[in-house]
Symmetry: C2
Subunit: 337 residues, 2 copies
């Protein structure tokens, strides 16, 4: 393998710092014309191939990265964005954020806005059932990375957690607590991979433990406290009431718990409850709701690292990296018998 | 007063719709060249003066509005942004968001990023002690509007709540409950107007009711649950323990309540607590924390309306509008004796 020439090699030959070489290559105004000329000639002689990052900097792009999330006001997405910022700010990138409100049309508008803003890359947690808009981003040579809610697309990297495993471990935990009639509150459309996968994990755990899967135990709803209350009311109209609830959202789980309490149903003795996402309120002493941690800060950092790696690679290499992180079961009072 | 010529007047003369006139003036590709020519000539003849909004649209700007907030993952700022989106999306504007993490340097970087993105306006809830960066925005003729955390600047509009009134009504409520030894947890620097004003309101309410202001009852800290616990520990080292706490942050109030509970101090009987912002968790049945509502959705809508009004005004009129909204006291279990 031929070792790639770096700015450090050029710096060594010219007896200047790598920073000087970098500035000269990026046409920085604080570097004299003479130095610029010398660096450029030397770089050419040594067959220096600038990486994508350097090219992006040189091309006068915005240094802005656009991040699209369904909503900003949850700890989960807030933490992912913090992870992205922590990792990218030191490289001189800034983050601008759009929210899609789980609406495909708004998401397409967000993409337009970010392209108009000349962002250098788009990181997205998608709420779309389609993928034409992503082809458009790629055609414009704007790097695209999915996190959390992805579309499986060739040539596009993604950073997700293993949602199947999350659904499985939550359900298995309820089974381990002696529950057999386990309902599932699904906080999103199964056409969105994360909700599909969590439900599949739930189903598989039931099957593996010889428990019948019942369609009337699966409630399709949205991630709101009020919807959790409604879902419990619906479940408790069934002849055979559930003895446990696995919710794919902490907000739904909280609503479910409030409705169970209002009905004087003991938690976890009569109904055990587990949510998903480890939102901070689940850890309030007064609530203590079991949940699945998705390590959002780490997910954001990893997304940023996948991008930086892609940028540091020479242009003729295409990277398609799928990072899947393992979620973690957190057992609290709402499910521990 | 001379009546201003509008696109409706032009439409009437030409017997076309106002939408056609608007499209023609904005050089829309779906309008024939002949119609465009006719509309432009008629507009000129009638001395039509396009408003700023039309100009912005015509000038091929981004139609993006940049919004800078200290942090995205609170209900308060999330709701303000929703209010802005609700009001501006129908006018064809899109919102891109940056967070400053209460850091002045990051805020300056955010402003740079948004200017680079060619946003049509910047709405900001500032964490800065200085205002040079805002002069820069104005010099570039980018409309600037403050919301919630403002700087008082000539020629710049702002939408805020009356934080003095908020601090006053929270403190007066505690006095009405029979409390006399009222501590204040300040969640930010008094150089930031909202925290300064809430503290002033607290102080004035004490004075008006003949209660001495004590410096050792004022704790300067940051808006985190853990800090609320520390603040209570600090207050309870004093010889004269407080019998009430007014916190300028709900998160701090929650931490304070958790620490009081851990010390077996009865809430509200021994210590009454009130927070600020009406974050959703304060309304959880399990917590029930008194607070001050700031109507964030309405604040966002109002900010957007001030902007639209500014855009609809002809260029030679300068608007400097200071909107101050009245906050509302919400009494819950943590303070109601």
């Amino acid at each position: 393998m031929i070792k790639k020439v770096t700015i450090y090699d050029i710096a060594k030959v010219l007896n200047v710092t790598a920073a000087t070489v970098s500035r000269a290559l990026n046409n920085n105004k604080n570097i004299s014309e003479a130095t610029k000329k010398l660096v450029l000639e030397t770089a050419e002689k040594m067959n220096y191939e600038p990486n994508k990052l350097a090219l992006a900097l040189k091309s006068g792009k915005s240094n802005n990265i656009g991040v699209i999330v369904p909503r900003i006001n949850t700890n989960f997405f807030g933490s992912i964005i913090r992870g992205i910022e922590d990792e990218l700010n030191p490289s001189g990138y800034h983050i601008i954020i759009c929210q899609s409100h789980n609406d495909e049309t708004k998401e397409i508008n967000n993409i337009e806005s970010l392209i108009n803003s000349q962002v250098d890359a788009i990181f997205i947690s998608t709420s779309s059932k389609h993928s034409e808009q992503f082809e458009k981003i790629l055609k414009k040579n704007i790097p695209l990375i999915f996190f959390d809610r992805k579309k499986t697309m060739d040539g596009v990297s993604s950073v997700t957690i293993d949602d199947f495993a999350g659904g499985y471990m939550a359900t298995k935990h309820l089974i381990d607590q002696g529950c057999r009639k386990i309902a599932h509150l699904a906080s999103g459309d199964f056409k969105i991979e994360i909700f599909h996968d969590r439900h599949e994990g739930y189903k598989q755990a039931l099957i593996d433990h010889g428990i019948d899967y019942r369609e009337d135990y699966v409630i399709h709803t949205t991630s709101k406290i009020a919807e959790g209350k409604i879902a419990v009311a619906q479940l408790f109209e069934l002849d055979e009431k559930p003895d446990a609830i696995f919710s794919s959202s902490d907000f739904l789980a909280l609503g479910a718990i409030q409705e169970l309490k209002a009905r004087n149903i003991k938690i976890p003795e009569e109904v055990a409850v587990i949510g998903f996402a480890n939102e901070p309120f689940t850890n309030f002493e007064e609530l203590s709701i079991s949940t699945i941690d998705q390590f959002p800060v780490e997910m954001g950092q990893m997304t940023a690292r996948v991008f930086l790696e892609q940028m540091a690679t020479s242009q003729n290499i295409k990277i398609d990296k799928k990072v899947v992180m393992e979620p973690k079961l957190i057992i609290r009072k709402s499910s521990k018998k």
